[in-house]
Amino acid sequence: MAELTSSARPVGDIQSEYMAQVRHKRVLNLILLMVFLAMMLTGFRIANQRNAGGFWDGLPNIFDFPWDVISEAIERANLIPGYFVKYLPSLLETVNIAGAATLIGVIIGLFLSLLATRGLAPVPWLVGPVRRILDILRAVPDIVIALILIFLLGGGPVPAMIAIALHTVGALGKLFSEVNENASLKPVEGLRSVGASWMQSMWLGVIPQVAPNYLSYALLRFEINIRASAILGFVGAGGIGYDLRNTMSWGQGKYDEAAAIFLLLFATIVVVDQLSSSARNRLTHGKAGSKATGGAQA
């Protein structure tokens, strides 16, 4: 007791020290904020100078193009449903590119993620190289692969599908292996002890544990891939993006078809987003009793 009081400093000292510390931290934060703001401002200035048209010159015109499209769409609103039917096959192609790419990506990504997880990989020294391969697949923008494949294979859905699938393998492989790391190894050990092969112990011991998370990530990826598939169409690989570029190149007075495609694309993205986010919510937060009747999930 005596020691404590003798070593304790007056409250005022502690307070002033604390206030000094707070001030120091605030000054530091302020400097950081100033540096950040300065970077943003100079960044925008540089970007503005390098742009073909300036920001302030372009700002009044920003609604010109949307207005052209909307007014023409309203003017010929009676034709729009016909265009919906006309471009539905392209839309389905875009969705199918995304669907097939996601599916292929999930299958290959699942396999590679098991190879890239310590403790599950059958060949431990392959873990590092497989991870680097996933890193590289993730780092290459899909447009690069698509453009090269268009040169080799000609236009059409296949280059886009392969490009998106490769990127999906990289992205999902990493996410899946993170999920795998959290999986319990006890079922795997149990299966191994009764003589299961690697494939069997993965299929029966790991996949049932991680499947809901896998599905959730795959659905999220599907949303992203639909957008990617539309963009790749725009640079020449089939689907609705390709039609969008063509209809836009017809110029003023023909924007009604472009408007129809805008609407189709917007509606598709919103609908898929909503469906997949509600499905993901159900997967991750779990519906009561969904485990007991696993079959009902189909």
């Binding site: 742009n51 015109n61 040169f151």
Partner: protein, 433 residues
Amino acid sequence: MSVAILKIQTDALFRRKRLFALSFPAMIVAYLAFIFVSFDIAGLGDRMNVQNAQKLVSDVYSYKTHVARDNRNGTLEIAIEGERKGRYPDGTGPDWVTLGDGDPIVDLGGGHVITLGKTVIYDVPNYGRITATPGHSGVDLVLPSADTPDWINRSKNRVAITNDAGRLTITRNRTEVFRFFTGWELFFFTLDSPYYGLSVAEVAGRAVSGEAGAIWHEFWTNKMWRHADVAWALFETILMAFLGTFGAAIVALPMAFLAAKNFTSLGGIRFAARRVFDFLRGVDGLIWTIVLSRAFGPGPLTGALAILLTDTGSFGKMFSEALENVDDKQIEGITSTGAKTLQRYRFGVVPQVTPVLLSQVLYYLESNTRSATIIGAITGGGIGLLLTQAIITQKDWEEVTYYIVLIILMVMMMDWFSGWLRRKLIKGADDAH
């Protein structure tokens, strides 16, 4: 009795599960089969351009030097890849071309020697001497053997001889020899640079003796590879990602408060804010890019604004969710000390959400570097533009490879940087991984 019922129920459950386990893969296979047919993957082999593939692959790791003789006036032109930028000054050439008073002699190595005169003489090892004379009536070809071997392609007006050493084409107006070399031509210095052809040690020696600045200048302004432009394009791409991501975060933060249940009690405002986010996200980067490039023209600002608009939607949604998960106890504690609204936000809310928001923003920074490349390819700006330009020429595949390598390095660097920043700013956030 009850055991029997349980057994029946269990059997039914097992049957259902087994059916599901079988039907799920069957559905996947059926879908893939449908894709196989509808995308005509079987016909891919016919559509695939094998020649393009060979050209692409060989161009990635090798280059060719053209030696061309104009048969109308006898002038000789030596150029790397046949490009003006890679042209040797008149009267000079690589050491395998003998220039003198007589006809130029091209040594393709391995005993293949071509004399480029009015009459072209080509000594092929293990075959003999080929002579060809281009004239008004076409190309007059004389072969040592009676029949034409399959590596010689001849018609009345054009002769092409292709083998491992190189390629010789003769038409009435022009005789051209290609010799192939491994590597990327003129990567460091172009032919007009005083440092061309020097070894690494020689260049290093010159650099030490005070020419480092000049050497760097020659490298940086290389006309063939345009290192300065490429570096600037990479910077522009990163700039687009940086401005777009952080700009979106700044715009989205106040709007997220409007969309969060526990900060905005008015349902109407909440609904409106959420629909704005949905709209911004749903319209998608592609359409924003198109719309904005109509107003602002191609360039990094357009790309940055497109990212900004799309991500405002994503961030708004994520931020408002994070704000709804805020712990009320901390706010109550601050309120009990008599804090005003602004102080409650500053000390009760901000410290709780900052780590969450910051880590989401930094995660997007990395993925937006890739988006910026793609947007650059659509609207024209940054490394994406250079890449599409190089791909469209369909012959500069070594440059395409160079850009792809740079893009991969850039994305990996941004990945590392955002991870580093996340660990620095949010202590303990990534310790678990």
